[in-house]
Point group: C2
Chain length 418, copies 2
C-alpha cells in the first residue's frame, strides 16, 4: 500500500530547521510494510497547504502522515487548511480544551488565549491524544485516503505515532516479513554494506537496509514471506549470523544507543566508572547520564579544560604537562589514573585531544586524540587516534571511541587500540 | 520568485538516509531571495519521477533544484525521466565521457561500462560541471520553469551549486525585504507570540515568524518592501523595539546559541568559569565547550554524580550531605564554592537535582533542581526551581537556567531567582 509523508512549515522551506520527522516517518512506515512514494514539504501558506492536501487526496497514496502547523501561533495553519480542503469546518473539542487548560494549571500558569485554537479540529476528525504536549493530533479520511496530522515537535510526533497512528495503520497492511535491526558502531556504511551483502549473497528472500545516525549505523535485516512466525524465526537466525560475522561492531538491537549498551554492561557486571575529559568537554559524561539509573555505575567525571584543572583536580603533574604536552600518552594515562583514584572507581577513561578548528600543529594536527584507561589492579594503558571532520564530529567520535574502550575493559578483553 | 526543491531516491523514501541536501538547498535558495514553497521527495520509480517533473513544470514555481539519481547504477533514473517528461531524448556528451574516463584513468582503473551513462544528457540541456566527482549536473528550461539537476552526494551537490547554479540563479531574484532573527530563552512560544504580536499590531508591512529549537525560540521579523536599504533600516528599528520590550529573554541575533552568547559575555569581560554538575551529568559543560575558543573562559567542570564524588572532588562535607541531602541549597552552595576554589575561577555555577524518572519524593519531586553560584568576592547564593517534563527536558532546562545565572552574574546584575 502506498503512503506519503507531508511536512508543513516555513521554517523547513526556508531551511532554518532540519526536518528529521520526514525521515523518521519514512522509516517507520516502511517498517510497517508501506511503500512510501512521496514526501513533501509545504510552507505555512493556507492556499498551498489546501492545494497539497487536495492533490494528495486525489493521488494513488492511501495513507498520508503529516507533521507541523498545529502550534498556537498565527502561522500554524494545518487545522484551518484541512477544514478548507475537505469542507470540514473547525469545531471546538471541549475535552481537549480542558486538557490543555489543565496542563497550564499544573505549571501554575493561566492558559494563553492563543492556545485555545489547539482544541479546534475539523468536523468528523478523530483526536489523537498527545501524551507529552498541548497540541493533540487528529486523523480523518477523505476520498479513500487516510490522513494523520501530528505536531512537528519530534518527541510529540513520536509519542503520538507510537500511541495512536501505528495502531490505526497496523490493520491496513499485511507485514511482508519480519525485520530485525542491529545497531553498529565502528564500520563505515560501505564497509557494513559490503560485509553484510557478502554474508547474505546466497540467502533467498532477505532484504538488507541501512540507516545512518552518526556515529551509529543500523543494519536492517528483513526476512520476506507470508508466514509471520516463519519469517520471525528466519530473521532471528539471520541476525545471529550477522552478529557473529560483524563481531563487536554490533552493540545492540532496536532502540538501545551505544552509551546505553555500555552502561548496561557496567550495571550487569557491577562495575563503577569515572571519566576525565578535555576536548570532549563533558560530552562523554552527558551521554553516560542520559539513561535513568546511570548513577548505579557512573560515579562522576572531571572536565579538565585548562591545564591548571588537570593538575588541581586530577593530579596530573606540571612536569608531565610540560614535558609531553596536554595531548599525549602520558597526560591521558595520568588523567585516567587521577579520575579513577579520586572516587575509587573500578574503571576510568580519559580523553585529551585537539577538537579544532584551532590548536593544531604539524606534529599534532586537529583531530589528534589520546585516550587513557585505568582499571583497578591492571596496568594503565593509552591509545592514540586521529579523526577527520569538524569540531562536533571529532568530539562525538572521541566520546564513542572512549565508550568502546570502556566496553572492552568491562568485558575483560585485552585492550587493543580502540 | 517561487522555487521548489526535489530529492530523488528510494533510500530517502525508505528512511535509510536522512536528506540533508533538501534543507541545505532550501536555506541557500532563501538566502538568494527565492520563496521556497515546495520540497518534494520521490522514489526511484521512472513513472513517478516523470509525473513529478511534469507537475512541477505546470506549477507556479519558476525554479526547481533537484538532487539524486545521476549515479551509474540501474536505479539512477533522473536523466531518463527528464528525457521522457520533457520529450528531450538522451544524447551522449562526448566531452563529459572523456572527462569521466580521465578520472578513472587518474585512479589507474578502467572506466566501468556503467559509468558511460553519466555522459548521457537530455537534448538541449546545459552541462553543469562536477569538479569533485564523475556525474555532471545539467540544467534545462521547460514551460517557463528552470530545472537544475545535481548528484545526491552532498559535497558534489555543494560544489556544483556554488560553481554553476548560484551564478545562473542570481540575476533572477530581487530580495523582497529584510529579515532579522532574535533568539530568546525563557518565554514559551505562545507567550513570545502574544507579546510580539501585541507589540507590532499596528505596524504595517511586517511579518512575524517563530522557530522553536528547544529550549530556544527564535523570533523572525521581516520588514517587507522593495527598497532593500529602507527595509533593512526598518527591520533594525523593529528589532530594537522588540529587544527593549522582551528584555533579557532576547540573548542574541541570528546563529548564536545561548551557550555561545553566555561564553561571549565571559570572554568580553575577561571572566573565567567553572561548573559543578550532578543531575545534568556534564550537559552544561558540553554545551559550554561546543564553541571553538571556549578554553579562553571555561576552566573546567566536575560531574559529581555519586555523593562520594561530591565530597572527594569538591569538598562538600559529609555532614552537609547528611543533614540537608544532595539536592538542597546547602549542597548547591558547597558545590559551587568547591568548583570555584579548586581551579581559582572568577565564577562557578552548580546544579543538583532530580532528573527522574526515579528518585523523587513528596518533598522533592522529580524536576526539583537547586542551583548555586559562587563569585570571587561575593556571597555565594542558591536558588530552587521545579521543572516539568521528562528526563531530557529537565536536564536541558536546568543547564539553560544555570547559563542564565552565569550570564546575570557575569553582567554584574543582582542575582534574583533565575
Amino acid at each position: 500500500m502506498q503512503a506519503a509523508v507531508l511536512s508543513i512549515g516555513t521554517e523547513l522551506t526556508r531551511g532554518e530547521l532540519f526536518d528529521t520527522n520526514a525521515g523518521t516517518l519514512a522509516d517507520r512506515l516502511t517498517a510497517l510494510g508501506f511503500e512510501v512514494v512521496r514526501m513533501q514539504t509545504v510552507d505555512d501558506d493556507l492556499g498551498r497547504i489546501v492545494a497539497t492536501l487536495r492533490e494528495l487526496a486525489a493521488s494513488p497514496v492511501r495513507v498520508v502522515v503529516s507533521t507541523g502547523g498545529l502550534g498556537p501561533t498565527s502561522d500554524d495553519l494545518t487545522a484551518a487548511a484541512v477544514a478548507e480542503a475537505f469542507d470540514a469546518p473547525l469545531e471546538r473539542h471541549e475535552a481537549t480544551l480542558a486538557r490543555i487548560a489543565q496542563i497550564f494549571a499544573s505549571f501554575g500558569r493561566p492558559m494563553p488565549p492563543n492556545n485555545e485554537k489547539q482544541a479546534d479540529v475539523p468536523r468528523g476528525a478523530t483526536i489523537l491524544p498527545n501524551p507529552v504536549g498541548t497540541a493533540p493530533g487528529f486523523s480523518l479520511e477523505r476520498d479513500g485516503t487516510l490522513f494523520f496530522f501530528m505536531p512537528g515537535v519530534p518527541r510529540e510526533m513520536d509519542a503520538i505515532f507510537e500511541d495512536s497512528v501505528k495502531r490505526a495503520l497496523g490493520p491496513l497492511v499485511r507485514p511482508s516479513g519480519h525485520q530485525i535491526r542491529l545497531r553498529t558502531f565502528g564500520l563505515t556504511e560501505s564497509e557494513l554494506a559490503t560485509r553484510a551483502e557478502a554474508l547474505f549473497a546466497d540467502v533467498p528472500d532477505v532484504t538488507l537496509g541501512y540507516r545512518a545516525s552518526f556515529p551509529e549505523i543500523e543494519l536492517k535485516i528483513l526476512a520476506r514471506g507470508d508466514d509471520p512466525r516463519e519469517c520471525e524465526e528466519r530473521a532471528r537466525a539471520l541476525a545471529q549470523k550477522a552478529r557473529e560475522a560483524l563481531g563487536d561492531a554490533v552493540f545492540g538491537d532496536e532502540t538501545t544507543s551505544f552509551p546505553a549498551a555500555v552502561g548496561e554492561i557496567l550495571r550487569r557486571r557491577g562495575l563503577t566508572l569515572a571519566t576525565a575529559e578535555s576536548c570532549t568537554g563533558g560530552l562523554l559524561s552527558a551521554m553516560l547520564t542520559e539513561m535513568p539509573g546511570s548513577s548505579e555505575y557512573f560515579l562522576g567525571g572531571s572536565v579538565v579544560y585548562a591545564n591548571r584543572a588537570k593538575t588541581a583536580v586530577l593530579g596530573v603533574s606540571p612536569e608531565t604537562l610540560r614535558a609531553h604536552g596536554a595531548v599525549s600518552h602520558e597526560t591521558a594515562q595520568a588523567m585516567a589514573e587521577g579520575a579513577r583514584e579520586i572516587v575509587d572507581a573500578d574503571l576510568a577513561v580519559s580523553i585529551t585531544g585537539i577538537a579544532g578548528p584551532g590548536g593544531g600543529s604539524d606534529e599534532k594536527p586537529v583531530g589528534t586524540v589520546y585516550f587513557g584507561l585505568a582499571a583497578r589492579g591492571r596496568k594503565t594503558v593509552s591509545f592514540h587516534r586521529r579523526f577527520r571532520g569538524d569540531r562536533e564530529r571529532i568530539r562525538t567520535l572521541a566520546a564513542y571511541v572512549a565508550l568502546r574502550l570502556v566496553k572492552r575493559a568491562a568485558e575483560g578483553e585485552d585492550l587493543e587500540a580502540p
